[in-house]
Amino acid sequence: MKVLVANIEDVMREAAARWTLIAYFFLSTIFIIIFASAINLDIVDGALAGAKLFGKEVNMDSSQISVEKLVLGFETGFSVFLYFLCTFLAIFATAHLVPRMQEKGTIDLYLARPVGRVRLLLSRYVAGLILAGSNVVYLMGSIWLIVVWKTGVANPRFLLGGMIIFLIIAVLLAFAFLIGVFTSSTAVSIMTTYGIFFFGLMLAAHDRIAAAVSKQWQAWLIETLYWVFPKTAELGQAVVAFVGGNELPERVLSALTPAPFLTTAAFGVGCLMLASWLFTRKEF
């Protein structure tokens, strides 16, 4: 526990001193302020009578829309955006944690303590997750509060959708740690992690890609890659489905199956195990 606390303190202090924390939360705050000031709703008897976006009147076609429906629709669409925003910010803010620790003259100071290497690496991983998780909570919590303030409608599923975002961050951070241990390079960690995020999006079309390739082994390879790599597209859909609930079409709700979650989590666990094994064997 002491090691974990020490690592959390170290990571937070570093993030604060290197402006990462400030930039991280500043960007989120800017986004929240823009969001809060951009939307003005006119609600009459629990229904939306008029709306302004960035000061401009939104055409309602003289019809009244249920506020609950509007909030649900809005939060569902917005959760996709937050899925990308939170993930990208989190990787930027945490991918350096291992490469910087492994620098000559620094790693000696950490490893000379009575701490096993796996424990050290995992403590740093948890510290990174706390940093990224606090931003997810801040961003999603603020948006949720603004929506409640402006409409009076509270949809707790929006907040819980943050857990899926947190899962994908945890998995991608595990991958960034693996690359960080192997290469000791922050740039490579960030690039490959983003690469795997987009690769995961592409592999969502694995059926069509596999059908389009000419050889059997290529199709097999595509399917294998699909099951091995994190299902970033499916998890994005899952966020939408989770936040939207039963209001969404069956096609989207079908994303809420355990398989993408389990295989993505397994990828993360695998990355962490491999990173720990490499870190244990590494010579400094």
């Binding site: 002491k2 090691v3 606390v5 020490a6 303190e9 170290d10 202090r13 570093e14 604060a16 001193a17 290197r18 620098e103 000559k104 003259g105 620094t106 790693i107 000696d108 100071l109 950490y110 490893l111 000379a112 303590r113 009575p114 701490v115 096993g116 064997r281 010579e283 400094f284």
Partner: protein
């Protein structure tokens, strides 16, 4: 005396990137360091000093042989519970203050918060950094950073201190203070100090025993006194010390050099020296002083390194 550092048959081979070429950094070294002892590890660049220290800390894994610290094998993290380490060219995160750095490393060494809070001012005062406690490390000079590194190594009151060039970048007064601090640690607290330095005078002034590494092997081992005693030169002060006396000595095959009113005699052995004293007395001379001329640790070190160079050249 309890042995706190024990190295036996330690070998380390580094493999090149493609796995073909093998470089032997350590070739079966053995040594022990006891409780409260100040031990120096010497050697030219690439002799294996840093590799030895890294193996003792589990930073690098030995190819074969055994090493233990505080009675525990070095691959057990618990062996580092009571070990303080100051690496050469250390980089304590410079966004921290001295207090924060000591707090983080103290906690990583298993200390309680209250214990850390009490210990920080004491240890910073010991390295003369008390007034810099809440200043960010990026404002520190090299010498101050080095002192803080030493404080980080001492924060958890270690039984064993492994120091790599501890006085690097420190001014002469600071060096003396660090030397005194290390001696106090050894004498008062019984801390075992293993000092790895290129500054031979520093080791000579600080350490009880030294091991000189050369090409991954222990080339010389013993107390500083033992290593520097191996000489056949003597300083003689006598009257009268005229040219005829010098000529008489040279007849025996002795080397005679007149230096600032005394003679430095190079003899083959003690009998040879006694024969020279007999000659002095036979001429009615009076012996005022006769002392062995000790070589410095630097002389011993240079001789060992040169001997190796000659061997290498001969082999070629």
């Amino acid at each position: 005396m309890t042995t706190l550092i024990e190295v036996s048959g330690l070998r380390k081979q580094y493999t090149s990137s493609f796995g073909k070429a093998k470089i032997t950094a350590l070739d079966g070294i053995d040594f022990q360091v006891g409780e409260g002892e100040l031990f120096g590890l010497l050697g030219p660049n690439g002799a294996g000093k840093t590799t030895t220290v890294k193996i003792l800390l589990g930073l690098t894994h030995a190819t074969s042989g055994t090493a233990s610290v505080c009675g525990l094998p070095v691959n057990d993290p618990e062996s580092r519970r009571r070990v303080g380490y100051l690496p050469e060219g250390h980089k304590i995160p410079n966004y921290l203050t001295a207090r924060q750095a000591l707090s983080i490393f103290g906690r990583m060494s298993g200390m309680e918060s209250a214990q850390i809070e009490k210990r920080i001012p004491v240890v910073l005062e010991n390295v003369r950094m008390g007034q810099w406690i809440d200043v960010r490390i990026k404002k520190f000079s090299k010498g101050m950073t080095q002192r803080l590194g030493l404080a980080c190594a001492l924060i958890h009151s270690p039984h064993v201190l492994l120091l790599d060039e501890p006085t690097d970048g420190v001014d002469p007064v600071g060096r003396r203070e660090i030397r005194d601090l290390l001696r106090d640690e050894a004498k008062v607290n019984g801390t075992t100090v293993l000092l790895n330095s290129h500054l031979l005078s520093e080791i000579e002034l600080t350490c009880d025993r030294v091991a000189v590494l050369r090409n991954g092997k222990v080339a010389a081992f013993g107390s500083v006194e033992e290593l520097t005693r191996q000489t056949a030169s003597y300083k003689m002060v006598a009257t009268p010390m005229d040219e005829s006396l010098v000529a008489s000595f040279r007849e025996t095959g002795a080397g005679v050099e007149r230096v600032n009113g005394h003679m430095v005699l190079s003899v083959t052995d003690v009998e040879h020296l006694n024969a020279l004293v007999d000659r002095l007395r036979a001429r009615g001379g009076v012996l005022c002083e006769l002392t062995p001329v000790r070589s410095t640790l630097e002389d011993v070190f240079v001789d060992l390194v040169r001997a190796d160079e000659h061997t290498s050249v001969g082999a070629h």
